[in-house]
Symmetry: D2
Subunit: 136 residues, 4 copies
């Protein structure tokens, strides 16, 4: 099935008065919510090869989803523990560790968004840093 | 910390030109993405008590998140198998089973959204069915 | 398909020299690993109704799996924060919060097992507290 | 903390009459249960680079856990769909797709285990294919 056909078939489910920008921020939220909950609880340690493999694996997975233009996960090394000298010395990915940059495009609208741990509030904030209409 | 203080502190991270509607649809997407990935893979069978307990548990969990006004999960019984006569006769929650209704409110904007399995496209669509500014 | 038929069909995959006790502890491990990773990342706050609904939902889910005789989840209230006065004041389930008791029966072997946060080691230990052959 | 110290501190929680083999199969079960539930729901398509990145990322993650000697994930390509020509044409990892080989060592006991989709029973079986005491 062609992409445009599918989009038309899905569009009928959405309320008519939704702008492309509102739709684009909605799609962005979906991807951030998914990315966060896929990462939560995954075992990890401070080995750079381990960290990069996990980042890369989940980046590739999120890239499969509709409207994702790019995604970059940057797990915060300084919040991880574990050196695998001790069998039990490993960690699990949680909000404190997750940092990610996402670019979503819906039609001509491009959204740049981020997940970041806000230390002061002890909160893994998901926010939109840029919202623009692409010229072309 | 008071709610308004926190909101002010978080707001500075967002791009200035984001409307309340765009922010509201973003927050809605986050919750749907989370809800979907929390449910995926949970063991289940056709026992009504089991199904309702899982629905209720995850509804309560999603309700803890910011801006969630209400959430109703309705796992599709007709797509589940398993009767627990046979030890191995159970199922796992997947896109085909997940149906949910979510109402999010950001400031005066209310968003009604849904997750629904679109049979024709074999796709678990997340969409916005209503977007309105509350009068008051 | 009858339970005994299914068990026979599955048994051929296992190495012949596995005792019922070894099989029983294997099945116990599977359920604890699943339980832990299903719970990780679920949003929660200190509201007793929220906590009990989540505990109950995941207990019912784990009970669907083969050989599970009983399961009791006891999320550690003292390690949770969030009162929902502030939109952002909620928490997420992690190793520090998860405590659970599981009883598994494979044939005549009964296993009692537990997940518990070991403070001194900052480690969510899964262990077997009792292993016995039921008389009957 | 040294590994042996930690192991001693954890050992006191286990029932005394547990053999090394029973402990080894328990630890094996934990890892398979975790691996399965971490993979469930991750977006994927048929692109070989995407598949290998996900396999590699989760292999590295599971390798961080205690007693894991090796782990090889082999997602079943023939059960995946999605070519990313169409935005919506992707898939999600589920029991049908997950195949994995795990080797666990506890003291001198080595366990070889597997997750495999049993077509006839429509069941993602986790089983032990070899259990032996290493000479040395």
């Amino acid at each position: 099935m062609k992409k445009n056909n599918t989009e038309e078939k899905l569009k009928i489910h959405f309320t008519k008065d939704l702008t492309d920008k509102e739709r684009a921020t909605f799609e962005t939220g979906i991807k951030l919510g998914a990315l966060y909950h896929i990462l939560c609880g995954i075992p990890i340690n401070t080995n750079e090869n381990v960290i990069r493999s996990i980042e890369n694996g989940i980046e590739q997975a999120i890239s499969c989803q509709p409207y994702v233009k790019s995604v970059k996960i940057n797990l915060r090394r300084e919040n991880l523990k574990g050196i695998k000298e001790n069998e039990f010395d490993y960690d699990e990915i949680s909000g404190k560790t997750i940092e990610a940059d996402l670019v979503v495009q819906f039609r001509k609208v491009e959204v740049k968004a981020k997940i970041e741990w806000i230390k002061e509030l002890k909160y893994p904030l998901m926010y939109i840093s840029e919202l623009k209409v692409l010229e072309k």
